[in-house]
Amino acid sequence: MPNAHNSGFALAPVSLRRRGINALMSLSAGLAVVLVLLPLGAIFAYLVYKGIGSLNWAFLTQTPKPVGEPGGGMANAIAGSALILLIASSMGVPIGIGAGIYLAEYGRNRLGDLIRFTADVLNGVPSIVVGIVAYSIVVLSQGHFSALAGGVALAIMMIPTITRATEEMLLLVPQAIREAAYGLGVSRWRTTLSITLRTASSGVITGVMLAFARVAGETAPLLFTAFGNQYWNWKINQPTAALSLQVFTYAISPFDEWHRQAWAGALILIILIVLAVSAVRIAASRGMLKGTS
């Protein structure tokens, strides 16, 4: 007990003022937690309230019906979102983790500073601008909208988040762990992949899931890249529906039926993101992703 030195064995009585401040601080910290959780809870509750009515089996298995016809669903948009996110992750995750490794292990130089600065700026670029970039790179050169273009746009948005998260997590791994591997005659690249990255893996996965969840709901960068589609599409070079796009289209339409479906779509989007993130977390905690990523 730190006080014991000053006052013998008796503890100085805690003053009323100090107790008051303590209570006040604990209360405000608790209040801050409530304030953080309140919007999240409110949004989810409101989505359930508005969307659950239109949520049924047809919604999950059918494509949209023309205006005026009742029923129909967003199955193609769910599949489209999955396809676009798969494309985005397969580009964004390796590039992001690779860049993060470079920054943490080799990046203490001018080039490293430049990459760090670029990543931070890229993180702040409005998503609609990223959409325009993907449009001019992929859509214009291919001549048509596509899932690929949407994936590229989302990948560009994932990369800076993953890069910086990976770098920070790798830098948290003590130098002593790397030295232990070097001392065993393990080469530098092997040490980085099998020791350092593995030690940091749970943090890196958190960074990846953060980036994933963030882009999964993006609409703006998909408007003129993936474009949307009323029908099934599994080809990566064809216009593709996405949940966020479908919600957007339905929400700005003048039809009540479409509004209800938009609410259901938003609810499904959030549920799917939560499911995907939880699934990866569970897999990671069971050690299924612990290999050399």
């Binding site: 003590p174 762990i177 790397r178 232990a180 070097y182 001392g183 065993l184 393990v186 092997r190 020791i195």
Partner: protein, 252 residues
């Protein structure tokens, strides 16, 4: 069997600061050699030069000749190859936190592409027995993480990990400085046994420890090797005044 280490004119730098000046030392095979001296005198840098760990620090470099048996450490071989033949134990126990006890010991071999599972089992068992940890961990080899052991056990785990790659030389950089007296005693006993198979270089702040475990002792001061001789000579009749001042506690 261990091999002797011949060090000639070894100089080491951190950036522009010279940390070692013209070290020449003949470390005899199958004996323990202690390196003593006050903090910052270059002891750790010296052992880190022997297996080329020194150069993993940014801006650090070393010149001179180090021969380990027939191998020229600084010419004609890669640092990675050199380190495979030399085990190293660090000041703070540093087991790999995500690995089980078994995987920690097997890490050096596995990461370098060794795949024979039966042989691996044997080597892990033998290494853990050599480091006197086997009886304490044999029931939880694959279940318990290396980080869940106590400090003294972790250090013996790190010794087992270093022994598993079957080195000829074992470098120990203050291996007991973070341990309690009982664990220290165990590790000192261990050094005694290991001498039969390995050449050991041990950095220590503890002069009693040097006199207990080492046949030879080198005294470092300000990056120079002041005196290198049989341990009892260093501690009873040192030939240099500075050595005498240090071991009698007049400075450092």
């Amino acid at each position: 069997m261990g091999v002797g280490i011949k060090v000639e004119q070894l100089n080491a730098w951190f950036g522009k600061t010279q940390a070692l000046h013209d070290i020449t030392m003949d470390v005899p095979a199958n004996h323990a050699t202690a390196i003593i001296g006050p903090s910052g005198c270059g002891k750790s840098t010296y052992v880190r030069c022997l297996n080329r760990m020194h150069e993993t620090v940014p801006d650090a470099r070393a010149t001179g000749r180090v021969r380990m048996g027939e191998v020229d450490v600084y010419n004609g071989s890669s640092a990675v190859q050199i380190r495979r033949g030399i085990g190293m134990v660090f000041q703070k126990p540093n087991p790999f936190p995500t690995m089980s006890i078994y995987d920690n010991v097997a890490a050096g071999l596995k990461l370098n592409g060794f795949r024979d599972r039966r042989r691996l089992d044997e080597i892990v068992e033998r290494s853990l027995k050599l480091s006197a940890l086997w009886d304490e961990v044999k029931d939880n080899l694959r279940k318990k993480s290396g980080a869940s052991l106590s400090g003294g056990q972790q250090q013996r785990l790190c010794i087992a990990r270093a022994l598993a790659v079957q080195p000829q030389v074992l470098l120990m950089d203050e291996p007991c400085s973070a341990l309690d007296p009982i664990s220290t005693g165990k590790i000192e006993e261990l050094i005694f046994q290991l001498k039969e198979d390995f050449t050991i270089v041990i950095v220590t702040h503890n002069m009693q420890q040097a006199s207990r475990v080492a046949e030879f002792t080198g005294f470092f001061l300000l990056g120079r090797l002041i005196e290198f001789d049989r341990t009892e000579k260093i501690f009873t009749t040192p030939s240099d005044k500075r050595t005498e001042d240090y071991i009698t506690g007049r400075f450092g």
